[in-house]
Amino acid sequence: MTAPRVRLSGIVRRFGTVTALDGASLELRAGEVHGVLGENGAGKTTLLNILGGMLTPDAGTVEIDGEPVVMSTPRDAWRHGVGMVHQHFKLVAQLSVLENLSLGMRSAGGGLRLPFERVRRGVADLEDRTGLRLALDARVSALSVGERQRVEIVKALLREPGVLVLDEPTAVLTPDEVDALFHLLAGLAAEGRAVALVAHKLDEVMAVSDRYTVLRSGRTVLTGVRGEVDGSELVAAMVGKAPKREDSSEVAGHGGGDSTDIVARLKAVSVRTDRGWAVRDASLEVRRGEIVGIAGVEGNGQRELALVLAGRLDPDEGRAVLPGGIGFVPQDRTTEGLIADFDMTENVGLALHDRWPTAASADRGAGRWLMPWAEARARAEDVRRRFEVMAPSVRTRAGALSGGNQQRLVVGREFAMATDLLVAENPTRGLDIAATRFVRARLQAPPTPAPGIVLISSDLDEVLALADRIFVMVRGRLVPVPERSRTREAVGALMLSGGA
């Protein structure tokens, strides 16, 4: 048998006192799509970063085509034919998409000029093969998270790598785009490449992967071939205890929405950005106790609509009537929801600095000028306990928390603020199974009196599972989905066409 394309064995990697990888292994064969699974903090990203040359292992060996190699920079990895699509974007926001794609690419005739023409041709070719569309001349800073991810994927594919590594590529794509991407990945594998893929959604990984590797606590606990391992075994390996299948049918709409107590109302709201009208003539009423789901492909105006609902953006036209107690879970928790250099208490303080201390808190004397630190600390403790944030104390820096724990901190803080209205943008994006289940359960069983909840998600299944009423956002228009059209297919079609 020939050597596998890639073999990582006995990989150990520590960050300070934390051991992220503790003897993990991974084998990628030419011609396969390989799913890498594991909970948050299992070491998936660290392992892939080692393969991509972003990190060097403290121990263990990396072999490519049977030859031991040392890859200490991404450039080394490229040289060995390993291309990587990152979970955290590595794009220059001030440059255009075309310029970003051209960076680091060699011109055909050498020389110093960026190979714009070659990149344009390559992108056109990719668009034909994959259906991934890009606005080449747009500035990256003007793109949504989902659009940036597409740029990252194209950037890696342009170099036609022999080994392609994708860390969470599907989280922000529409179902159709996911299908197209998987089709592409299968095609790339069929051409003899090895493709490694991390995705949180188990069914996605299972749909596309030929083989699986499951990591838990920095170790490889299971490898398997499609058809030989079923979903519950994979979940069991990931969480390390008896599996409980996550089934979207177990979390149907929670039967709210009977109340007539309206907590927020948008009247013919329009929002203009420098790229034109992002939201057109959107009207919406949110009642106490209901979950309004808004589905849509990234970049169709949900972002702006969410900011308006959360009171962070004034509409250019129309009127937004909003309550006092608004909680907002923004989509990009690391840059918008938290300050990495602040500890948990200070991050809770972000929500309290312009609020009077509540009567019950110890901060009555804080008054108008002083920060209500005692209340912030108490609330941070509360979030840490009730939302099970894994942190030694509330003095832990937010930047030192894992992605899932950062999200718990944001969700916990904003739940406490949301006495009237909660606006949640992709609240489970990037979370592992346990954390996703946890956040969804919280959304369905909010505190009393229950706020109205607006759930804006590019995860169609999530919207279908949780929402009492569903809207679709298409090209800035807010389109209601009739009850009889509450199916994956019908809503998916609406997301693309707008029902027009």
Binding site: G41, N49, H86, E336, I339, L350, R368, L370, N405
Partner: protein, 361 residues
């Protein structure tokens, strides 16, 4: 550019590296490093008298301008204009100080120092408005305003406020009532040092305990998170921090006039507003740290004079030493942050946190 907490370890390391390089360069220049060091020590911390009269007196304007820079930088406002704001404050202080003749000191001193603070804040107003209204970077506008302030002072001391004799380009002395008395009897340390301490402690308290200070830290750490998660209007915070910074720098000019020179003349400041940037960065932008680093730079300046007198080393050499200090601070701070970043990360470490790779591509 961001500077973290824990300034004292960094400062000690910077001092060690600086001393080593400085000693070597002195030896190369043909001076006796031990001799020079002895003169430096005697001239800065040799006795209580010297420490109070030289080091601390020189430290006062450095600390105040250092605080001005620190509060601006904490908000993400890159105010390089403390020098110009100091001159604006000095001009305002002299103007008021010349006109408070019959007043009691209890009114005259606050009036003069208040005028200095307002003058400094006004000098910062134009760059502040240009930033928040027009999006013009404040680094350039504040540097340019420094030249305007410097030359405005030159004009004032030759024109409208020139001394009655009309001989030298300087003003008359401010009214007796507007002069700060001696704080430590038998030394030249004036009450301006107490003002400085109050400002430093007040700023430290503001940043840690007040809502406004929290907003400054939040906007400085992440304008995006401050806006989205904190509903904070960054422009208002920037403007407030900018004007406060200008006011404190202006106060430095006023304190120098009322405590040391009593008059305004050309070249009042030997570049305090620029040295202040090093003072603030070395302190990790911590107001209490600025007290220590300002005193360190005051000692360097006092020691440099003594070195020139006693060991024959040119005083320009101190500029070289100060540059060394700044360079070592930047290098050591970088090293310290890299180490801390690795230790602080728990679990799935996002690449941005570790800081590897991205820089290297």
């Amino acid at each position: 550019m961001r500077v973290g907490r824990g300034p004292f370890g960094v400062a000690l390391g910077a001092v060690a590296v600086t001393v080593a390089i400085a000693a070597a360069s002195l030896a190369l220049g043909g001076y006796d490093p031990a001799d020079a060091a002895g003169a430096m020590a005697r001239g800065s911390v040799g006795s209580l008298q010297v420490f109070f009269s030289v080091t601390l007196v020189r430290a006062v304007p450095l600390i105040l301008t250092g605080l001005a820079v620190a509060i601006a930088f904490r908000a993400g406002v890159w105010n390089i204009g403390a020098e110009g704001q100091l001159y604006a404050g000095a001009i305002a202080a002299v103007w008021v100080g010349l006109n408070v003749g019959g007043w009691p000191a209890a009114l005259a001193v606050p009036a003069v120092l208040g005028a200095a603070a307002i003058g400094g804040a006004l000098w910062a107003l134009l760059p502040a408005l240009m930033r928040v209204r027009l999006g013009v970077g404040e680094v350039i506008t504040t540097i340019l305003m420094n030249f305007v302030g410097l030359h405005l002072a030159s004009y004032v001391v030759r024109g409208p406020l020139q001394e009655a004799r009309g001989v030298f380009p300087q003003t008359d002395g401010v009214a007796e009532a507007a002069r700060l008395g001696v704080m430590v009897p038998g030394t030249r340390l004036h009450w301006g040092f107490a003002v400085t301490m109050v400002v430093a402690v007040g700023l430290s308290f503001t940043l840690r305990k007040t809502r406004a200070g929290f907003r400054i830290r939040a906007v400085g750490a992440s304008p995006t998170a401050a806006r989205v998660a904190g509903r904070i209007d960054s422009k208002r915070v920037w403007t407030g921090a900018f004007l406060s910074s200008g006011a404190i720098a202006g106060l430095a000019g006023g304190v120098e006039i009322t405590g040391v020179t009593y008059a305004l003349y050309e070249g009042l400041s030997p570049g305090w507003g620029y040295t202040a940037i090093a003072v603030a960065l070395l302190a990790g932008l911590s107001p209490l740290g600025v007290l220590a680093t300002g005193a360190l730079f005051g000692a360097l300046e006092g020691g440099a004079s003594a070195m020139q007198r006693e060991a024959g080393v040119p005083s320009t050499w101190v500029g070289f030493v100060q540059a060394l200090v700044i360079l070592s601070v930047i290098a050591l701070d970088r090293v310290r942050r890299a180490g801390a970043g690795l230790k602080a990360s728990i679990g799935d470490v996002p690449m941005g946190e570790v800081g590897t790779g991205g820089d290297r591509v």
